[in-house]
């Protein structure tokens, strides 16, 4: 019976860990409280871009974008001027990951996004401060609630599907360019793309296709792309090409196997 000493040591050891844990907990909560309050304070003043945001944006721009677009976004031989491009264009390009550009191919593809939303907005604020341009649409502007989906269908078929395909599955353009599939585009990105006409896409300004009409188009696209395929797997929603392939490789192939089985002669000794 050595008794008391081990019990005491155990109690001390446990107590030590308890102090450490509670200390961490206290510090953590205090920190969260402090920073939480801090960001709340910033949000309260975020009706327009703050000077801090613009400065942040300028810093990011200088690091990431100026090598092609110039220190003042005036453009270089490697990249166009962004003066007047507007926050919407910046938000579109960066939130889809197209910018910062990496492989300079026929077209900038959608890539994993490099920056946080806050950072992208800061860069957008900075670029917007240089020469104005279309603003980032608000959530209300891109919401599908109450949108005229029938009008959206008509506008989509008339002005969009010839490049993006009837279901937004994308299509080929010339010289290796392509109209991308719309499967991953957010409503905001769709609005911004229509507004700013990225790369080869034409511009659909708000005076030609009004904000309400843009909402209608967005409502149609988001509705169609999310709806189930009642007839089975969609085969890509690109039309008769895949259907023909499946008819041969699925239908005829299966029936050829069936025919071989039916007429197979069993070897008998």
């Amino acid at each position: 019976m050595s008794g008391k000493k081990p019990r005491r040591r155990r109690r001390q050891r446990a107590a030590g860990y308890a102090v450490l844990a509670s200390g961490l907990l206290v510090i953590g909560v205090a920190y969260a409280a402090v920073t939480g309050a801090g960001s709340a304070a910033t949000a309260a003043t975020a009706s327009g871009p703050s000077a801090a945001d613009i400065a942040q944006g300028k810093a990011i721009f200088a690091d990431t974008c100026s090598s092609c677009h110039g220190m003042n976004a005036q453009g270089t031989s490697a990249g166009p001027s962004l003066v007047g491009a507007g926050a919407a264009a910046v938000d579109f390009q960066m939130s889809t990951g197209r910018m910062p550009g990496k492989d300079f191919d026929a077209e900038m593809p959608r890539k994993p996004v490099t920056f946080t939303t806050a950072q992208i907005h800061q860069v957008a604020d900075y670029v917007s401060s240089l020469g104005g341009g279309p603003a980032i649409p608000s959530p209300a502007m891109v919401s599908s609630a109450g949108a005229d989906v029938a009008l959206g269908q008509q506008l989509f078929i008339t002005n969009c599907s010839q490049c993006h395909n009837f279901a937004g599955a994308g299509g080929a353009l010339t010289y290796g360019k392509y109209a991308p599939a719309l499967t991953h585009s957010t409503p905001t990105q769709m609005y911004e793309a229509m507004l700013t006409g990225p790369e080869a896409m034409p511009v659909f300004s708000d005076t030609t296709v009004t904000p309400a009409q843009k909402r209608a188009i967005i409502a149609y696209v988001t509705k169609v792309r999310s709806e189930p395929n009642p007839g089975g797997f969609s085969l890509g929603r690109i039309g008769p090409v895949t259907e023909g392939l499946v008819a041969f490789l699925g239908g005829i192939a299966a029936l050829v196997f069936a025919a071989i089985w039916i007429t197979m002669k069993r070897r008998e000794t």
Partner: protein
């Protein structure tokens, strides 16, 4: 003898009909008719039963479809199109898809069956071509088949245009533009077909009656003729042991063939069912109703019209304006020439081959493709030609999916459409001749057994055994130089005077073509190097089944090759 009730009932029924029809003998002959067995013989059945399924599902669809172009505003189940103006045809198709139970399934079965029908016709036609089953007496059936293929193309085009959706409407627009471009009669044809300006309001009802009545009636008549000829002339058979030009070896209709063909019908229906459950086809609600101001990227027709589409894309811009009139070569050449040439060549081929080879005898045993390298090569050339145009028809899809620039694909196709068939012909012919060499080797030297023996002299030899009977019959049948393929006649007589028919230009052409067609590897030569002259082993003149030789057996049993020179013991070793 006591009979069961069932037997009595059956006998009673039989007597009822026979008393009125004298049906016993004909029915017995029919039930006892033999059918040779090979899986390739079932390809035509895929087409036949797909057609039956098309009739069944099509009838269902006609109960709900409205062939009218009057405009309505949609207020049905499919919410994205609510409030959209569309034709009644389109609205009724939406109704079938979303409001009729089983409607979408029947629509999908109908469309998949149409694709399967056309695919089966192509595969069946290729089988007939490569095994030369179109030879006398079956040229008529070949021609009927080509007509049915053409009717099938039209039937499918008209059928998928009925829902009046954006994709098929674009196809109709292209059809109208092609029709309009035809010299002299084009504009009249277009205005007559569409009842005035495009799109008008009568084309859908007109296509409807053509699609549900006129063409199906023609197809039914032609299918009946096609099957009757096959019955009457008896089906061909593949070369094999005991199979000659004067017999049929197989199992009788009743119960074997009836059961097998019935089973295959169910297989086809099951495969179509699986396709229609798991693979969505022609989702017209996604296309939207037809509007001449709108279009989708990736506008293609169904696959069997693909080569026409590809021909239109591949053609350079060539138009000729003279004296106030326009020759739109860029449109009517691709529309009429490539498929026109292919189908005409196919229709004439049996007769052309008869002229070249001089072979006008009946053929009831199929050829092996390798034994007719020129024919097989030409067939592959035609397939390549069709295939290049078909792929070009999907060039924007291919450009997008494979990331190849659009114009590059068109340029590749422009070259490949001419170069490809030539290359395909040459490569196929060489492959066939190589396979013939392999067969000749097997016949001359037997099958390697893998057993090595050492001779007393120290030499090692591999033992071979003769090819077994079944395989021997297949290898020996209808080889180049064998009696079944006679040459066109001696080019010169004993004194070196050329035969009269070879002196004209046409005669010389025929002789030259005959030499090309007869190229092959004869057996027993041992040095086959592709320069066989078609006069083989000096067999007697072909003993085809001709009139006046009733019951005469053609001497076409398997001719044994020269005895093994390989192993010392050419008999059973390790059998």
């Amino acid at each position: 003898m006591t009979k069961s009730k069932t037997e009595e009932a059956l006998e009673g029924t039989g007597r009822f009909f026979d008393d009125r029809l004298r049906a016993a003998r004909a029915t017995t002959a029919f039930l006892r008719k033999l059918y040779p067995d090979h899986w390739t013989f079932l390809l035509g059945e895929i087409a036949l039963y797909s057609f039956v399924i098309l009739l069944l599902t099509g009838t269902f669809l006609t109960l709900f479809f409205q062939p009218s172009m009057s405009e309505v505003v949609y207020h049905g189940v499919y919410t994205p199109l609510r409030g959209v103006r569309m034709s009644e045809a389109y609205a009724s198709t939406l109704n079938i898809s979303f409001d009729v139970r089983g409607g979408l399934l029947m629509r999908q079965v109908h469309h998949w069956a149409a694709l399967l029908f056309m695919a089966a016709i192509f595969v069946h036609m290729l089988r007939i071509f490569f095994t030369a089953a179109y030879r006398k007496p079956r040229e008529l059936n070949w021609l009927i088949g080509i007509v049915m293929l053409t009717l099938g193309l039209l039937e499918g085009l008209f059928g998928y245009s009925l829902p009046d959706d954006l994709l098929s409407g674009t196809g109709l627009r292209i059809t109208q533009g092609v029709l309009q471009s035809i010299p002299i009669v084009g504009t009249y044809g277009s205005y007559f077909l569409f009842g005035g300006e495009y799109p008008g309001n009568i084309i859908i009802p007109r296509l409807y009656i053509i699609h549900v009545l006129l063409i199906p009636a023609l197809l039914l008549a032609l299918i009946s003729a096609h099957l009757f000829l096959m019955f009457h002339q008896k089906h061909t058979q593949m070369p094999g042991k005991g199979r000659t030009n004067a017999n049929v070896i197989g199992a009788p209709t009743y119960p074997y063939f009836a059961a097998k063909t019935g089973a295959f019908f169910f297989f086809i229906f099951a495969v179509l069912g699986l396709l229609s459950t798991f693979a969505q086809i022609n989702p017209i609600w996604l296309f939207g109703p037809y509007n001449p101001s709108g279009i989708t990227a990736g506008s293609q027709p169904d696959f069997y019209m693909g080569p026409l589409e590809g021909a239109l894309r591949i053609m350079p811009a060539w138009e000729w304006n003279v004296a106030g009139h326009t020759f739109a070569f860029n449109v009517f050449i691709p529309a009429l020439v490539p498929l026109g040439v292919l189908f005409t060549a196919a229709a004439l081929w049996p007769f052309l081959e008869q002229w070249i080879t001089g072979d006008r005898s009946e053929h009831h045993v199929n050829d092996r493709p390798r034994n007719a390298p020129t024919r097989t090569g030409l067939g592959m050339a035609a397939v390549t030609f069709w295939g290049v145009l078909w792929l070009e028809g999907a060039n924007d899809i291919l450009a997008d999916q494979l990331q190849i620039p659009l114009y590059t694909l068109t340029w590749i196709a422009r070259v490949a459409v001419f170069v490809g068939p030539v290359v395909a012909y040459w490569v196929t012919k060489r492959i066939c001749l190589g396979l013939q060499r392999k067969d000749a080797h097997l016949l001359e030297h037997g099958v390697e057994t893998g057993i090595i023996r050492q001779l007393p002299t120290g030499e090692y030899v591999e033992l071979t055994r003769p090819v077994d009977d079944e395989k021997l019959a297949v290898l020996e049948y209808n080889r180049v130089g064998a009696p079944e393929l006679p040459p066109a006649g001696p080019a010169e007589d004993a004194d070196g005077v050329p035969a009269p028919e070879t002196r004209s230009a046409l005669g010389r052409l025929r002789l030259g073509l005959n030499r090309v067609v007869s190229e092959g590897i004869p057996v027993g030569d041992g040095h086959g190097n592709g320069h066989g002259d078609g006069h083989g082993n000096g067999h007697a003149a072909p003993a085809a089944v001709t009139a006046g030789e009733q019951g005469g057996d053609p001497p076409d049993g398997p001719a044994r090759p020269a005895p093994d020179q390989g192993g010392p013991d050419g008999g059973d070793t390790g059998h």
